[in-house]
Symmetry: C2
């Protein structure tokens, strides 16, 4: 095998893989008591939920990531799902960060089996409760699904000569990995075991070990099958046969009761493995790492990968493949029960394994960080206090209790999840609207795949249906031609005007001469001069009371710099509001106000700005719904014009504006005014968006007086723009007023069947 | 009135208007005989046709433009519709360019009444035949619909004090214009009259004038009501009452039999005018101009506009408004029967009118070209040979017959229409695909409005349904997210790959370092390095047999210059074909071949290129389906590499390529191979487009051997790109092979009900 793996074309492919994680945790109060509440209703139907499930008990949340191609990505998803779970729970609950459960109820019947819809699922849990006792089922851990890359398997298959069928070959690969893993898994227990002690009432009587150990969970005290369960990994036929026999004899109730540290996966049932071949392995002996916010750290994910690669690299150690497994279990039992701070009895074998891994990485020309991981493991072998259980034990020796540790860490992770509720862990570099949409999708159990991170491109799947979303609300529900219409101001205005809506009257010019020749037409009225297609206010000049010929000429010059076509339009006076219309409803209305502070009669403007900037909604670089108010040159100039300096004390209730423009990106405030509006305006916005043929649009209306009835008053509004990818985050988290969670409306539109009814 | 019109804010608005034209012509053979064929079937259902109709007889085509806002635009539409009509007719037919019909059949019954669907339409024509004789009904002309701009009427209404209702005010405006027009219309007859003589059998017996006249059509010999028809234009009430009385008395069979040189228009029926007010005037006394390709020239359209403006500018001449009309008719009759080359008896009044118009234009600060028009008219007043009938008479005096003139002009206009069948008159600056689509739409009777000419934005309407189209095939039938998918090569590949299609395997990199570190992965295979989002082959490097590290590095540098993300992909060898898929069908397949010539053993390469460039499909600047082959630096270098010079004689059947790239834009050939392909490949293209969710796409497949069955052979194709706005013109007019009129498929998709079944 090594001969093949060392080949030049195989080496780069060998380093590629797919990962998926499952993580169980107990829901507890902020002080560490097992939760008495039900699984969060906001998560909707558990049977269809792709990411947040319940395991054995109603309090035991299971988080499931999709399968992805890098360690970082799988951690990103776990982080995101973790935040979804935490923010879906009551704010006074958190996740217990240890594998061993929190203090359990005195009466076993007070441990509530997960309230699942499917009766067979409930029955199975009842059987487990009878067979193992409910307490043992309360243990949690990480399941680590690992698959070599398809290209790697194909390339390897191409160079070997023994197998003629790629499925068989693949199965053989994973059988070997599984066997070696079972043989050497004690090293994982040594390094990453993290369940030295238990809280009260995990053990029914006092059967617990007197001393702390490396991993209760991976020891015979943990969550293992009864002793008579032995399954061979010699061949896939034997593996299947053994499991089927155990079920047949009633030793196991179902296939899934086979709790091996490595399961062979592929197809729906164990029997399918023979036909489809093993497609990946599920590693099940990983304790929750209390020092990692999501129960597992990036270095852990990567170490397990290198370890599994090495399990393929290694030759089979011995001919009796069943004996190998038995040895593995014996050695693992032994190491798991060692004291966390003691030197392990298998140190020499450990050293050999790690040096072998290092050697392999050298041959593979791997990235340096992987070598660092091995060096760190070597150090842990020398210094048990560096292992996870060792670190915990050092804290215990310092007087911290196991529960203290759990509560401290659990609270820290819970606080982190709530700190910036407009962001989503793992995806904080994406647009806020997309982060919020992803949160809502994950919460509803919609599968989320990020097809292109830089491009904000998502694939959402639910109940067999697929929808693609770009930038939060560019979807299949809108028609191709609609954004093209909105992109073109002239076309937008023509269509709206033909449909009877009021838009600023104006002309389009494609040459300066032509525009200048038409001056007389605009001479005596307020006008706006703007480039036809550019956005964000660039190149726009506004003359509220009309322009002199010189000013007209200059403004045209500026506009023609931005575009070869320029619009001259009547200026409509009034306040500009953004109407967010989706699926025939005006769901939100927003007023944007330039950066400003309001005096209290005591503080200086500088102090007022500092105070206002403390709002957790304010941040920088569009990673928050509002931006920090600056006191730069423009703001100081603006103050000066109003007769102020930054260290002037502002009179009580006096409002001073620091910017002319109302953009949120320059510190402006976003005011939700959805409920302050007459229905007529909402209807007009809906009708205008309908005239443009759009399902989703942010349409900007200038309204001189929103109290008048627009049906009864002339010129009561003017539509100045329709946006085909309107920002949502500012509506969800406004500066003032109630937020409107438009991302939920997008999901309702895409997957009406996923709507959570509480 | 003039006081108002002179006001600063009114003046610029006064110059704006809306125009619509209707033009009748007789279909004739290329030698000028009245056509014996039916109205072209390819035009579909006449009852729904918006632009090409039949008037009185089956041979009398009527072209109808939409109402638009400039003289140039209305002429553009007339030109386009003209070409549609000509190219819809048999190639051996043309349009008779004169108002007076071609030689008519001996027997009146051989003049075939238009074969219309609605029986009442046929009945009405039968009545006209009985009442006026069929021969008179064969006369053709231009109807000129004119409306002042709404803004103008509104502004004028705002400054006057007499009227309180804008509809009444508007009606008064048009009544005045109509009265003055009727009074002074003799000047139009003088300047633009163009029917001096008739062909045989227009006059049943020899009642015709002995001498040529200025306008038979506008004379008592023309197409006028019986003498007892007089309708007053004093007030709208009187106008309606008079017409209703005439119908009541049976003098007119229907309202529309009232053949006034000016009709007041608004609403569906004359009676509606009272309620809705007059909305525009229809000027009906314009002869076909045989010297203008479409029967009317731009200067004519503009002169009539200025003339109509002046009819408003003028004060009413006298109190007896009915007498005014009678005077007008008398003067017009008089001028119409003058000899074309004689001085008109009304020269002085004409001079006064034209000087008055000039004065008005000066006050209005109008564009210089309008003043030129008036000066030209003044000259025509002095020199009758400069009038239309005068020009004709000069030719007759030189020995040309009326028929000769008609045939020469008619043939020239027909040839012009057929010269570049891939273009559309009036819109030759637009994209070819859009021009062809517009042609097909107009041919089917779909209304076409160009919303934005530079942006190729069309509004199509048919039977009450509206569709918007940009760039020929960006429509409402595709979903918003689909082009976004196709724009992103990574996302496209992921979706196609997940759906089981073969796409080039590869990686995406966002830094040079990262890409360089992955070199080993691509070391030993053919690769393509390309920027992620840019198009048109910019920044792409292809290494068919793999790249050295240095070459790899250099190619990455080039690609990163174009985009912040770069793809490295496997190179799939084979021939690239463009599959055009629309509505679940592969309608066309194209092979593009680099610019090349094929030797004949006699000609030099230079001569072969010159010969090949004679193909009428070749042109420059994308205004033709193929581009002229250049012999510039690149081509000469390419020749040199193959051991040729431009003046070498190429051996018979030897093919030499002048370019490496196969782009049509650099002289490449487009070969239609739709029928050379196995169905399986067409199915694969359809399925891939379906996987992307698109209705219309040009999908590029690399196929090593198109003869093999792709379902039975591995790696028989690779999909390298899907395009969301694929060019259509190259499929419609290929260099070789049968063209596929994809624009028809687009229309079938948008308006299935408009499909013409022949």
């Amino acid at each position: 095998m090594q001969t093949y793996l060392r080949q030049e074309n195989i080496r780069p492919l060998f380093k590629k893989a797919r990962f998926g994680l499952e993580k169980e945790s107990q829901r507890v109060s902020l002080t560490g008591e097992l939760a008495k509440t039900d699984h969060p209703a906001v998560l909707g139907n558990r049977s269809l939920h792709s990411t947040v499930q319940t395991d054995f008990s109603e309090t035991q949340i299971e988080l499931i990531t999709p399968a992805v191609e890098t360690a970082q990505e799988v951690l990103d998803y776990l982080g995101a799902i973790h935040e979804v779970a935490l923010r879906s729970m009551n704010k006074d609950e958190m996740l217990w960060p240890l594998s061993m459960p929190p203090e359990l109820p005195e009466l076993e019947e007070d441990i509530v089996i997960a309230k699942l819809d499917r009766f067979e699922d409930v029955l199975y849990r009842r059987y487990l409760a009878r067979s193992y006792g409910k307490r043992k089922q309360m243990v949690s851990g990480i399941h680590y699904n690992f698959e070599f890359s398809t290209k790697f398997i194909e390339a390897l298959f191409a160079v070997q000569t023994e197998f003629t069928c790629i499925e068989k070959f693949k199965t053989e690969i994973y059988l070997k990995v599984a066997r070696n893993y079972l043989r050497y898994r004690w090293l994982i227990t040594y390094l990453y075991g993290a369940s030295p002690v238990s809280e009260p009432r995990y053990f029914t009587e006092d059967q617990s070990p007197r001393e702390p150990v490396r991993s209760l969970r991976n020891s015979p005290y943990g969550y293992t099958n009864h002793e008579e369960v032995f399954v061979s990994y010699q061949s896939i036929e034997k593996y299947i046969q053994d499991i089927e026999d155990l079920v047949e004899k009633g030793v196991l109730s179902e296939e899934k009761e086979f709790y091996s540290p490595v399961r062979l996966r592929g197809g729906k049932q164990v029997a399918d493995l023979k036909e489809v071949g093993v497609q990946y392995v599920e590693i099940r002996n990983i304790d929750l790492d209390p020092f990692a916010p999501y129960g597992i750290a990036l270095e852990g994910i990567e170490f397990f990968q290198v370890f599994l690669m090495y399990m393929l690299w290694l030759e089979d150690s011995g001919d009796d493949l069943d004996q190998l497994l038995k040895d593995g279990t014996r050695l693992n039992d032994q190491v798991s029960l060692e004291h966390p701070l003691s030197e392990t009895s298998l140190k020499e074998e450990g050293k050999n394994l790690l040096e072998g891994m290092k050697e392999m990485l050298k041959v593979l020309d791997s990235k340096p960080s992987w070598v660092v991981l091995i060096d760190r493991a070597l150090k842990m072998l020398e210094q048990p206090e560096e292992t996870l259980s060792g670190k915990m034990q050092v804290l215990f020796d310092d007087g911290l209790t196991n529960k203290d540790l759990a509560v401290t860490q659990g609270q820290a992770y819970s606080n982190a999840a709530w700190e910036k509720p407009y962001q989503l862990a793992g995806f904080r570099d994406m647009e806020l609207s997309t982060q919020i949409l992803m949160f809502d999708a994950l919460q509803r159990g919609i599968e989320v795949e990020v097809l292109d991170r830089h491009d904000q491109f998502l694939k959402l799947s639910y109940a067999g249906k697929i929808e693609y979303v770009k930038n939060g609300n560019m979807t299949s529900k809108d028609k191709y031609v609609v954004p093209l219409i909105m992109e073109n101001k002239t076309v937008t205005k023509k269509i709206l005007s033909q449909a009877g809506f009021r838009v600023p009257k104006g002309e389009e010019f494609s040459s300066l001469e032509e525009a200048l020749a038409s001056y007389s037409q605009f001479e005596s009225q307020g006008i706006v001069i703007k480039p036809k297609s550019t956005n964000y206010g660039i190149g726009i000049s506004i003359f509220k009371d009309g322009a002199s010929f010189e000013a007209y000429q200059e403004a045209l010059r500026i506009a023609f710099k931005e575009d070869s076509e320029v619009l001259v339009e009547e200026f409509i006076s009034g306040t500009e509001y953004r109407f967010f219309v989706i699926d025939g409803q005006t769901e939100a209305i927003m007023l944007r106000v330039p950066a400003n502070v309001k005096g209290d009669g005591v503080s200086t403007i500088q102090e007022l700005v500092t105070e206002k900037n403390k709002d957790p909604l304010r941040g920088t670089h569009h990673r928050s719904p509002l931006e920090i108010i600056q006191l730069g040159e423009i703001e100081r100039l603006m103050l000066k014009e109003q007769g102020y300096k930054v260290d002037d004390v502002l009179p009580k209730d006096a409002i001073v504006y620091l910017r002319e423009n109302s953009n949120v990106s320059t510190g402006g405030d976003s005011l939700d005014v959805t409920n302050d509006f007459r229905n007529e305006y909402k209807e007009i916005a809906v009708a205008a968006v309908e005239a443009l043929g759009a399902k989703i649009s942010g349409i900007d209306l200038i309204i001189p007086d929103k109290e008048v009835n627009p049906y009864e008053t002339k010129n009561s509004y003017g539509i100045i723009e329709a946006n085909f990818n309107p920002a949502m985050h500012m509506h969800v988290f406004p500066y003032q007023g109630e937020g409107v969670r438009l991302t939920q409306n997008v999901l309702d539109l895409l997957f009406p069947e996923s709507k959570v009814i509480n």
